[in-house]
Amino acid sequence: MIVAEQKPFEQIFNSVKNYENIMVLGCGTCVTVCMAGGEHEVGVLTKQLILAAKQNNVNLNVEELTITRQCDKEFFDENTTNKIKEADAVLSLGCGVGVQYIVELFPDMIVKPGVNTKFLGANISQGLWSERCGGCGECVLDEYEGICPVARCAKSLMNGPCGGSSNGMCEVDPENIECAGQLIYDRFKRLNKLETLLEFKPAKNWSLSRDGGPRRVAREEMMFDDE
């Protein structure tokens, strides 16, 4: 899933305090799961904003709403659309995609981001999420037996690990980041195929990644004729 984290409250408040009617819009998908922008967070943030407005003598009306997904047209139903249109600005707690999608649907609306979108990752333990995929466009997980060197090595080394690997940890943050090269090594050892790590991995094709420009996926069999 997409993992996000709420922006510092002061930053959020400053970005919306000059609008009279704001609408805090949550998203029921990824940011709900990572507890950054779901219904619960929307509720808490709304109360915080009302309180801060009072303390700062700011006239601020705050509405709240959470929809299933901010990156899909079908979830912007009539009720949602009307509510958004009544506001002077939307504070989206969806990821960066959600923010932009609302702008596309409501070209006259001001939309402010309430979260910092971090990465594609997984929940590791209570309150801890960790990056797993860099969306490189051409997955090489089969070559690395399910451990991604692109997203998990601080240097994206395809022929790692580098000399900074120590006690299984990466030199960049030995307390918190596991060395991807070591993880790959351990996995190959466990699978009894260490000798295949000797194979040279050529330079990766980054044109399928963000480096090739913004990407799209087009599946003709799913398109309607009039689109």
């Binding site: 994206s156 080394l157 395809m158 690990p161 000399g163 900074g164 690997s165 960049v172 050529p202 330079a203």
Partner: protein, 322 residues
């Protein structure tokens, strides 16, 4: 690599090829445009080492470029080994730099991934890592041996232009002390297969581990496929030793070294004494072809060490060619 012939005009390669115990040094470019800094450092190393590494934005701190510094060093008569990291430049920039470096007379390049930018003075920078150090080795190898760019195009200016490939003596680093330990020889083998001609190791403060690594290297006959230069850095103080032990990943110490430094009255002299003993030990080790002497910020202390180690005079180019 075929050790029965040379593949470049590098003086360093000639010395290694001759079988002479070889010495490389290290020169750190200044954090300014001060040309004299390089001239002075090159003057103190010249004649005492066979070639000198020129670091590339070492520890991710912006400094004078390694190629520019290398050319200044060359003008002083000190053969440079240009370091190139894949942290700051992509395959386009690196290949263009390699062509330029070769045109300016650079003959040796050491391929590194580079310290992560979070360690340096621009921690908010974006890194590149388009390729890694092993892919860089292979890119230089392909340029030299197949006269091709990474993309497969011939290294020539148009269809009728002459093929003028960079004839680079290709270096790589090896760290016998990093983890996973039993992968370290495999990684060396990988670098050799990719096209490395010579290896400089991480600094040795754990001679036992280094010997063990060399044993594994010899078991696989890798010492016959690549030249190995053992990394030596004289310790300046017990404090420096402890700092490195606690803060630098991939450096290992045997207990007695720190103890010796602590007990010494003159710690600097003791550091040099330890280095001399290490060099003596390495000289007699089968499969090690020389020493890479890194005196961090102490380019001036190199002559003293080289003389005391009985490694003077250094072989000259002329002798090599006859």
């Amino acid at each position: 690599m075929d050790k029965n012939k040379t593949s470049s005009d590098s003086h360093l390669e000639q010395v290694l090829y001759s079988g002479e115990f070889t010495l490389t040094g290290e020169l750190g470019p200044p954090k300014s445009a001060d040309k004299n800094d390089i001239i002075e450092k090159a003057k103190s190393l010249k004649g005492y080492v066979d070639a000198s590494n020129i670091t590339d934005n070492q520890t991710a701190i912006a400094r004078m470029s390694s190629i520019a510094s290398g050319v200044i060093s060359l003008e002083q008569g000190l053969e440079p080994v240009i370091q190139i990291t894949t942290r700051d430049r992509n395959r386009l920039a690196i290949q263009s730099d390699v062509l330029g470096a070769a045109a300016l007379g650079i003959k040796n390049i050491l391929c590194l991934s580079g310290d992560h930018q979070s360690f340096g003075n621009h921690p908010t920078a974006k890194n590149v890592f388009d390729i890694d150090s092993i892919q860089l080795i292979n890119m230089l190898y392909k340029m030299r041996e197949e006269q091709q760019f990474e993309c497969g195009d011939m290294i020539r200016n148009g269809k009728k232009g002459p093929v003028v490939e960079p004839k680079i003596f290709i270096g790589a680093a090896a760290n016998p002390f990093a983890e996973p330990l039993d992968f370290r020889v495999m990684r060396l083998e990988k670098k050799i297969r990719a096209g490395a001609d010579f290896i400089q190791t991480q600094v040795i403060y754990d001679m036992d581990r280094f010997k063990q690594w060399m044993e594994e290297v010899k078991q696989k006959d890798l010492h016959k496929k690549v030249y190995i230069l053992a990394g030596i850095t004289p310790l300046k103080s017990a404090r420096m030793a402890k700092y490195m032990k606690d803060n630098v990943s991939g450096i290992s110490f045997t207990g007695d070294i720190i103890e010796r430094m602590e007990k010494a009255e003159d710690q600097k002299a003791e550091g040099i004494q330890i280095a001399l003993e290490q060099i003596e030990e390495i000289k007699s080790m089968e499969g090690v072809h020389g020493v890479h002497l890194m005196a961090i910020g102490g380019e001036k202390s190199v002559p003293d060490i080289v003389e005391k180690a009985g490694l003077m005079p250094r072989p000259s180019v002329k002798e090599m060619k006859t």
